[in-house]
Symmetry: C2
Subunit: 447 residues, 2 copies
């Protein structure tokens, strides 16, 4: 049933007589674009289904009780206050009509002159519906909080279990995907196992808690240097993570993980960090979609087949000789594309020639745990590779700087400092949604 | 369906061969009791349905986006770590069998030698089921977060509304109950209206936003001094809150509030701060319950009719000439009873005579907004009354000191300092549950 509040007609947005730029999604790309248009002679309408921006690189810390959700999110109305040509609307996009230039949303129709799709990516289970149902993803803060609740609830439940297999199904974790998220979650769980949980759950023998990281290829952190991959593997092994290379997950029924090698693992918590795909919008011609549900765009981020519709960030695939699959689906390409597109819209309105996009790759980093990180840095045309304590300090520094808002930075800095010295984790709350374990008895029979 | 994990048999708790003291509820009273038994020759089992303690006096700030939920809660396993004679279990209590001395819980049976009921209080709608369905209470952090989500969602929706009545149904708030919670929520909403929302929602005319506070008696803050009540009223009126004294709410259908005077108010958000009642446990003989669902206890907090079952805090009514209805349902009596009962259990085990409870009333305070609070302080046998800036500074100081845990104190202090100078509120996130407005069209017809 549709409430009259969600009007069938136009959404109520002031008409200001300037070209209207509608941005769908306030992730790294959309937010940067909105800011870049601050002084442009346009009306900017930012549409997002949440009222806050999420700093995705630290989401894994929310999932592992290191940070609070509020530390890594920031309300759009706070970030963009004082930008007088911008109007934010919290709404879900349902459809776009590209002939009449109108976006259909949960709060009504929004006509646009320029439309930018910055909807990012979502988990890709490659069509495995059973996996999608049982696995836990970390694509939103709500996901991260749910994972945290699930992990902590597992331990509360484990206190009541005698049966060894049942106990291990709760204590063991399987992480699928050896990219930055998978590596970081595995590292964070191993720290919880070593420093935090043994104090919280004295009755549990933590030698029983296994952390398995499954990677389809033969290296972790694909795309980073061989040194980074190697060191990440060494660190994880040193922290007692069971890294299974060259394996794929064939099936998961919520209890038994079956690998392509025939190996079986038992866990109630499989964390999916293996693949993402773009989150396209209905109404854009399907021919514009490439592999992984990303829109094919030209060097000005225009979607193939349109003159006033653009895609930036994870949802955009700007194919080149150097990047035959498009740019990596991380923050930097999104930010850089958002900024340039903002400048190009200003150029376009002034009748000036546009600037094609060129990606400035600044490198990549991943942290495995306290004092342990790997970093490949590109600076002034040179490549620097470093692993260990210095890389970790750099990781901390870079992430604090990049966080939106003085308030978040302060809070995260305080949290990290406290955690570093106390070896504690502050956010060990079970609050809100959690995965309920599947029926134990039935599952035992299956296993 | 009952999972085999929730065993029909005994909950798995180590048997240590010492008298077992089972505490149900980790609020102010239960937590203080657990701590007081730190060195006692007993096994302490603390049972709570949450894995965290809640600092209730600041809950209203979570509801009004001033603090994050994590700022006012603290995990039991963190607070009580290192207390080797204590074991925490997250579980719901279903029933107590007072003849076999066994507590039935969601994780199994827990035998006890001494049972302490510290379950606190819950909202009392005096049997009005319609009110219970439509009103929003602030009795848990999850309630508070839901209220925050609802308030913020109202404003997001209001941006789409032209109809004046519909608009007011979203922008106006009715708070029922002029005790500390009602007064503090009303004050906090008036600050949001003045300093925060006008920047967030520039399209809304905030002269349309009304805050009504309904009090059944002829003074606010019943139980505090006449000066405090009078100043609280003045401050609220200065902040533009419509205080309606000597009124009762007759009915609320989710849209129209009808008062006993026949007056009608329109709102989608009625905040219930009018009454609480104890949260009793099944299996305790009903004759032990007094008005307001509180267990009648003697001066040693023993429930009438039992020798090894006690009640402390809000759920206990220790009737005396000075307190014919039992002590006020606030933190201090709970803390003091918890502490003394702990000491008395030690005395009892040593065969020493018990100490009867005597309440040390330290006074009461309430804050109405930035720089405005009222305080009645009892110190060294003297009464001090103060209102305004000094009372506010004292309120801030007392609440920071009382907060559990260095980490919470630091975070709250940082938040408050930032809010004070920026006139901002940090936690303006809509995340998780919110009340969905009832069907607009239908309600318009009703109104």
């Amino acid at each position: 049933m549709r409430s009259s509040m969600e009007m069938e007609g136009l959404a109520k947005i002031e008409h200001v007589g300037k070209p209207r730029v509608v941005i769908v999604g306030g992730g790294f790309g959309g937010l940067e674009l909105a800011k870049a248009l601050r002084d442009a002679p346009v009306q900017v309408v930012l549409v997002d289904k949440q009222n806050y921006h999420t700093f995705q690189p630290l989401m894994y810390q929310v999932a592992t009780a290191g940070l609070e959700a509020a530390d890594i999110i920031s309300p759009f109305r706070q970030i963009l206050k004082g930008q007088s040509n911008l109007c934010f609307r919290m709404a879900e996009v349902e459809h776009v009509d590209t002939t009449t230039h109108v976006l259909k949303t949960s709060i009504g129709l929004i006509p646009y002159d320029h439309l930018i799709i910055a909807t990012g990516a979502t988990s890709n289970y490659f069509g495995d519906a059973e996996m999608a149902r049982h696995a836990v993803a970390i694509k939103s803060v709500e996901d991260a909080v749910e994972l945290r609740n699930t992990v902590l609830s597992n331990f509360e439940k484990a206190l009541q279990i005698d049966d060894v297999e049942q106990l291990n199904s709760l204590l063991d974790f399987v992480i699928v995907g050896g990219g930055p998220t998978g590596v970081e979650v595995a590292g964070a769980l191993s720290e919880l196992r070593k420093h935090v949980f043994p104090k919280d759950y004295r009755e549990i023998d933590f030698r029983q808690m296994d952390i398995h990281l499954i990677q389809s290829g033969n290296t972790l952190l694909k795309g980073m240097s061989a040194e980074a991959s190697q060191k990440a593997l060494e660190y994880l092994q040193k922290f007692g993570v069971d890294v299974l290379l060259d394996r794929r997950v064939q099936s998961y029924d919520g209890y038994t993980v079956t690998l392509n090698t025939g190996e079986k693992l038992i866990t109630r918590t499989l964390i999916w960090a293996a693949g993402v795909a773009g989150a396209p919008i209905e109404g854009i011609r399907p021919e514009s979609l490439r592999k992984g549900n990303r829109y094919e765009v030209d060097t000005f981020n225009r979607i193939a087949g349109y003159t006033n519709i653009y895609a930036i960030g994870d949802i955009a695939a700007m194919v080149s000789a150097e990047y035959p699959e498009g740019h990596p689906m991380v923050a930097q390409p999104a930010i850089q594309q958002g900024r340039l597109l903002g400048e190009n819209i200003v150029r376009m309105l002034a009748g000036n020639p546009l600037e094609p996009f060129r990606y400035h790759d600044q490198g990549a980093m991943a942290t495995i745990g306290r004092n342990h990180a790997v970093a490949d840095i590109k600076m002034l045309g040179k490549d620097y590779k470093t692993q260990g304590f210095f890389a970790w300090v750099m990781w901390v520094f870079v992430h604090l700087i990049a966080l939106v808002g003085f308030r978040n930075r302060l809070s995260v800095f305080a949290n990290w400092t406290w955690s570093y010295f106390s070896q504690e984790r502050g956010s060990r709350f079970i609050m809100g949604k959690r995965r309920e374990s599947v029926e134990t008895t039935a599952k035992s029979a299956v296993a």
